[in-house]
């Protein structure tokens, strides 16, 4: 997985303009998915994570969540007809999200951290017409 703001700018040659478009589009989708929660008063972190995944491939990344905060993790992809998912597990691998939803290129999960500690945000591509599916994740909290 990559942090787009950091790694992409540092490592991808500028000639890969189409790759940038893909990245930008995936981020746009993720931001689109989180927009309703921004209107609800959640603060979006000004950073994005993402990369590309094969079919049924999962990517987990650890994140310290704080008890008392309510988080929405939203994921998007630019690939038409792809179906993606995002879920949140605690450090023992137990599903802890309060709710989650998915629709094709968008997916999201809400977690109210029951305790401060390390949680795993797991992103997955359930189906896609492409071998590798680019995706992005953003999150918000309040």
């Amino acid at each position: 997985m990559r942090r787009f703001g950091a790694v992409v700018l540092a490592s991808i040659p500028l000639v890969l303009a189409s790759a940038f478009a893909t990245v930008d589009d995936a981020i746009s989708r993720a931001l689109e998915a989180i927009d309703p929660y921004v209107k609800e008063g959640y603060v979006v972190r000004d950073d994005q994570w993402g990369g590309d995944l094969g079919l049924k491939e999962q990517k987990a990344f650890p994140h310290t969540l704080f008890k008392g905060n309510d988080y929405w993790f939203c994921m998007g992809t630019d690939v038409d007809n792809a179906r993606i998912a995002i879920h949140v597990y605690d450090s023992r691998g137990k599903l802890v999200e309060k709710t989650s939803w998915q629709k094709g290129r968008f997916a999201a999960a809400e977690v109210i951290a029951p305790a401060t500690g390390t949680y795993y945000i797991v992103a997955e591509v359930n189906s896609s017409p492409q071998e590798r599916t680019s995706w992005a994740m953003v999150y918000a909290y309040k």
């Binding site: 540092a10 998915q102 795993y120």
Partner: protein, 265 residues
Amino acid sequence: MAKFCYTALVTALATATFGFAEAPPSRIDLSKFPATRLDDVVVPVPSEVFNVLDKLGTPNWKGELRPPDIKKRGARAQIALLLGSVIAEGFVAVEAADKERVKEIGREVLELARGIGVEKTVLSRTNAILTRADENNWVGVRRELDGALADVKKAMIELKDAQLAHLVSLGGWLRGTEVLTSIVGKSYSADGADLLNQPDLLRYFQQRLVDMSPRIRSNALVGRVQRGLDEISPLLNQKITPASVRRINEITGQIVRAIDTDGHA
């Protein structure tokens, strides 16, 4: 209540429109992800912690503020650590609703960013900090401080200086943890102490230091920080007690002072 209703409505609409996901497994085997890279770890931004502190009561934030002193400049590593620490200080100033201190911090951030060649990156952020402070828009100031932290780190990575970017994050974490332990220590509660349950985050910072180039690791201040983290580690890997909160506060306080004075504290 109105907010709750709105949340419920948004969620219900999302559910109705998008449909629930295929039911995820209630448990997963985390050993399936053994190769989680260090780059995959998400380091929380300071406002995530301060957001919780807001809900824990109204501590004496003015009493937590440090007097401004960024005159002692050393190597780029010290400036990076100091920059993170000063940005964290900005959050304390916001909690204290100290407009003048917030504005001073905005200027300090700009000055420190100049010291490591990323001034242009944060200029609009620091201007926004001054404007939002004048408007008493504390939520806006927080957002700009978070943004300044992210922008500085991105700029450093673009300059192929990711190591300094990690030091900025670490400086922020150290000052944030000093403040957090000070507040929790003055009015101990299980919920407050729970906020310190960050052993994996600490391990992440420790590993980042281990992975740094010999040149940075040989910096006396960086070595001081590394030893401090090693001291904190066992305290965060056990039940957090009032005594461990006090001890973490002492250690982080000493490191923050060492950062302020480039190791001459």
